[in-house]
Symmetry: C2
Subunit: 262 residues, 2 copies
Amino acid sequence: MSFPERVREAVRAARGPVCVGLDPDPGRLPPTEDPLVASLALCHRAVRATRGLAAAYKPNSAFFEAHGGPGFDGLSHVRADIRAPAVSILDAKRGDIGSTARMYAKWAFGRLDYDAITLHPLLGWDSIEPFLEWPDKGVFLLVRTSNPGAKDFQDLEVNGQPLYLAIAERVAAWAEEHDGIGAVCGATWPEELAKVRRALGDDVPILVPGVGAQGGSAREVVRAAGSGPLLINSSRGILYAGDGGEGAMREAAEKLRSECQD
Amino acid sequence: MSFPERVREAVRAARGPVCVGLDPDPGRLPPTEDPLVASLALCHRAVRATRGLAAAYKPNSAFFEAHGGPGFDGLSHVRADIRAPAVSILDAKRGDIGSTARMYAKWAFGRLDYDAITLHPLLGWDSIEPFLEWPDKGVFLLVRTSNPGAKDFQDLEVNGQPLYLAIAERVAAWAEEHDGIGAVCGATWPEELAKVRRALGDDVPILVPGVGAQGGSAREVVRAAGSGPLLINSSRGILYAGDGGEGAMREAAEKLRSECQD
């Protein structure tokens, strides 16, 4: 199964594009517990609570790395909880020259066995290719991010269009030649997302962060993203829903899924 | 002492801009030893062999992360070997939104206590600011990289100049307002380095990878980088010099230093 088809299949099985972001914030954990144990327990509950209705899970590597080696290895426990057809995405935003990229790929795909990883595109093709040498794995390249600083560089004008669309066009060209390529495009700017989808075509999976706490609307995202493969991530909105119980997590994921269907 | 002054001081003490890159390639380690133990031993020998003549050390995080949690924690052993005034640079090339950047800063500066970290600039100011909240720490922002794929995006034309110069100009503007900002500019293109130095001004430290194995010449780099603070990195050229002994490592670092003085 090709990578775009795999994403579509995960969305079909979950009856919606919900991706559960796993960013266990140490400031929001019970102060009496060991921070790493509490973080891993929170992720475990979130995955269990949303099983069957999430098309993907996306742990944010930084929140595990902040705990040092045991936190870093905790990413494998999170991975073990995620069951196909849901897609496991390691949100690590790496990006380095070829020989170094090979080491990061070995970590993400070899050691941890994630299905996909997020990457910075700035170093170009030889920083991405080593990840695509792993069969059945995927990369999500940052095209337009969801944060305020996105405008600092991503909106710079390149040949009459913003840089992020020039990146999207290049990503689309790579995706025509190679399986396994997706894009990240933030939800806070739905018009930009629509332009990115046009540039990418209907066969490149788009991962959309920034729904919920960061302010984007799921309805607008689904409309803007058109008919191509799509995953919509919510982290804090699910992880810290209601009373923090699994019921509240599941409800929050169901609510997001139903907003996507409206 | 300001960050640029700290880099200048390290270069003065070492009588040259040599930065020793620590990228222990598992394919070049003795096959009979445990790969992580052999990697850490190699780094330990390289730091010891070049002490006093290296202005900085730059472990490449990927080569430690590939060993999982114990490798990740191994970065603290490498750090412990590096003695001031030499600057310790964690080459991790992170880059994420503010709340995530705070986690990476906590890891690099809080847990590991490195003096500086390399970062992707693509997400803009709020992805960088959390690192600058740590007093006496520095960031090196990727402006122009040393790999073939650099041209894919970094050379795109923005307002009549390549993107990397637009990035350099923005980095210079940030550096006027905030201490702790440096830039990475590859050595494989000395003309570009000269342009980057002009854009940055003479007070922003530039870290130059790509000398040696990647093909850049130290002489040309020093000329192109002008009188601003400068670090020139060599990884494989020192780590795998001659017979692999400490004498050969020291000779290779001395040779690089003398090439810089020509």
